[in-house]
């Protein structure tokens, strides 16, 4: 061994070789994805229902999926920038139309559910669960309501719907300055459930989930207070067989039942 290398320098070489060994795997990391299933982008309101459906699909077909949840608008933007999702579950069909116009999709997609909004009151909150949102304005005035969480109306369909509902109830102006915007409905739900916000306007599908049950109470808002949440799914260009199979699986009666159980209204098949 060349005597000109000191012990410390030799250690440095070893450290480098270790990181080298670990890093070499990285080059193949991307290549390995082929056998762990297609990437699926799903609106965050499906956070509790879609994994259940995906598990059933896996058991039935032996094929895996990689699910990512987030805001529909964010996913649409990412897909436009080339994100490799093969299947997109949007909470609003306008985003699907956007992608179709940009020639990213295989076709126009299919309606899979109709969404509903609820007013969610976490445990311990002084707000009344009033389906007409009557208490909200009063609470904002007398200081009981410090924060109301909704998803960001700019890119989350449920956030847009929440804004419409609040405007329809005439309380939107009173609530300015008290709104907390979640990046997607799951984050908005987390704000409300943790008690950081005294109330939240959230998807019914999230509020009905068992994980939510003990955390508070909710009341469903009138359907006509917002433009319908027409949730559309679509296969992207170049989607593989697994994605196509899942797309078909979503339309089976079994899945429709699951969706219905979670609070989604179903469109005509």
């Amino acid at each position: 061994m060349d005597k000109l290398l000191t012990t410390g320098f030799r250690r440095l070489i070893c450290y480098c070789l270790l990181t080298c060994g670990a890093g070499c795997g990285a080059a193949h990391a991307s290549a390995d994805q082929a056998d762990t299933g297609p990437a699926v982008a799903a609106a965050a309101d499906l956070k509790f229902v879609l994994p259940e459906i995906a598990q059933a699909f896996e058991r039935a077909s032996g094929r895996k999926l990689r699910l990512s949840f987030g805001s529909s608008g964010v996913f649409a933007r990412q897909i436009l920038q080339g994100a490799p999702f093969e299947l997109f579950f949007s909470a609003d069909e306008s985003y699907v139309e956007l992608l179709q116009r940009a020639h990213r999709t295989m076709d126009a997609g299919k309606l899979y559910a109709l969404g509903r909004l609820v007013l969610f009151i976490p445990n311990g909150s002084p707000i009344q669960a009033d389906r007409n949102l009557g208490d909200l304005a009063a609470a904002a005035r007398d200081g009981r309501l410090k924060h109301l969480s909704i998803a960001n109306p700019e890119h989350a369909p449920y956030g847009r719907a929440a804004r419409e509902a609040l405007q329809r109830a005439g309380v939107w102006e009173a609530l300015q300055g008290k709104l907390v915007l979640g990046e997607n409905v799951a984050q908005a739900a987390q704000f409300a459930a943790s008690g950081s916000a005294q109330a939240g306007i959230l998807p019914l599908a999230l509020a009905r989930a068992p994980e939510f049950a003990e955390r508070g109470a909710f009341t469903t808002l009138p359907e006509n207070w917002h433009a319908p949440l027409r949730q559309r799914m679509v296969l992207m260009q170049g989607a593989g067989e697994t994605a196509q199979r899942f797309y078909a699986y979503m339309q089976t009666p079994a899945v429709r039942t699951i969706l219905s159980n979670h609070g989604f209204a179903l469109p005509e098949p």
Binding site: D2, K3, L4, T6, F9
Partner: protein, 384 residues
């Protein structure tokens, strides 16, 4: 280990960052001292020879090899010149042992040979047994020896390339006792070397001790070169006399030859005999110097023969005991406000002759030691 006889020839000129206007030569086996006060550019000159600094104009040639020639666009990197450099602060690599530091200069050899030769060079500088020590564990003197061994290993191992040994104030960072020892060792070691050696120092005594020839550098200009004794006792002009520390600098007028045909110097009404005439004519105004060694104190109790040469009597104005030597300043008689003569005698001599401030003393100015220079009106013609 003989190397081909290749002399060093250097010409440098630049204005910034350090002004240089320097010419020097060093023959193989010769030790040339580059002397000057701080800031005179000596280290820069050395770095130009080594290739660590590129002057705006100049030439550096060693034997037939042209290391630097700005006009022809040649400027070899330090690694392509065979230069052994001993730095002022040793510049030993702290992560290598003494042996490995020396072996660094032998990197072209196979590993086995490298280690053996490195040990040999360390033994040559009397560091046998310390090969495995790291620089932090060695004293200043030992570190400098390692540095010297490394420089020697670089220059002496290959015999078919011209090489130069450069030392940049190598002994200034060690204590005096160590310095003396190192100087003695260098004096002994260099007898075996047949390459040019350039030593930078601000210490005139060191130059006198070690060098065959010296070059005096001031503000980057090489003022005078020659054997140290010559430069320091026979400076070319008053400015150089200041630089080499000759304090006894006076003005005089050349007189006609005396009865013995010797040249006479008229000074303060006295007629001094001067042994050597560098070419002045009668009536020329000159500056003249006499080194302290050229002044002898007369015995106060009785006169003795041989003290009739250039006698001067005067009053002692200062008498400083500096250990074994006493420095005496004597104001010559009939000297109104002129500057005194400075010389030193062993302290016991001063005591025996009862030299004290205010007392009268007689001295002899040796004719051999008086050196005449062209007169320059620098406003500092006569000084302390």
């Amino acid at each position: 280990m003989a190397t081909i006889a290749a002399g060093l020839s250097v010409t440098l000129r630049q204005r910034k960052p350090v002004p240089l206007e320097c010419t020097l030569d060093c023959a193989p086996g010769e030790l040339l001292a580059l002397v000057g006060p701080s800031g005179s550019g000596k280290s820069t000159v050395l770095r130009c020879i080594a290739g660590l600094h590129r002057p705006s104009q100049g030439r550096v040639e060693c034997g037939r090899a042209s290391w630097l020639d700005r006009e022809r666009g040649i400027a070899l990197l330090p690694q392509h010149r065979r230069v052994g450099m001993v730095f002022q602060n040793y510049s030993l690599l702290p992560h290598l042992s003494a042996q490995d530091n020396v072996a660094l200069a032998l990197w072209q050899l196979p590993p086995g040979q490298r280690a053996a030769q490195a040990r040999e060079w360390l033994a040559r500088v009397h560091l046998h047994g310390l090969e495995r020590q790291f620089p932090a564990q060695l004293s200043g003197g030992q570190q400098q020896r390692v540095a010297l061994a490394r420089a020697l290993a670089r220059t002496m191992t290959v015999t078919d390339e011209p090489a130069v040994l450069l030392l940049d104030e190598p002994f200034s960072a060690v204590d005096q006792v160590t310095r003396r020892k190192l100087q003695q060792e260098l004096a002994r070691l260099r007898r075996e070397l047949s390459i040019p050696i350039v030593l930078v120092t601000h210490d005139l005594d060191e130059a006198r001790m070690l060098a065959d020839r010296m070059v005096l550098l001031h503000h980057g200009v090489s003022l005078q070169s020659g054997p140290p004794e010559e430069v320091m006792t026979r400076p070319a002009n008053a400015a150089i006399a200041h630089l080499v520390g000759l304090g006894n600098l006076f003005e005089g007028i050349v007189g006609g030859p005396d009865a013995n045909g010797k040249l006479v110097l008229e000074w303060l009404g006295r007629r001094l005999e001067v042994a050597r005439n560098p070419g002045f004519a009668q009536g020329d105004k000159v500056n003249w110097v006499i080194p302290p060694e050229g002044i002898l104190l007369h015995r106060s109790d009785r006169p003795s023969r041989g003290e009739a040469e250039n006698p001067v009597s005067g009053r002692v104005v200062d008498c400083v005991v500096l250990g074994p030597y006493t420095q005496i300043m004597l104001r010559p008689e009939s000297d109104q406000g002129k500057l005194p003569l400075t010389f030193s005698v062993p302290t016991h001599v001063a005591q025996r002759n009862r030299v004290a401030v205010g007392s009268v003393a007689r001295i002899t100015l040796l004719a051999q030691a008086i050196h005449l220079m062209r007169w320059e009106d620098s406003g500092r013609g006569e000084r302390r």
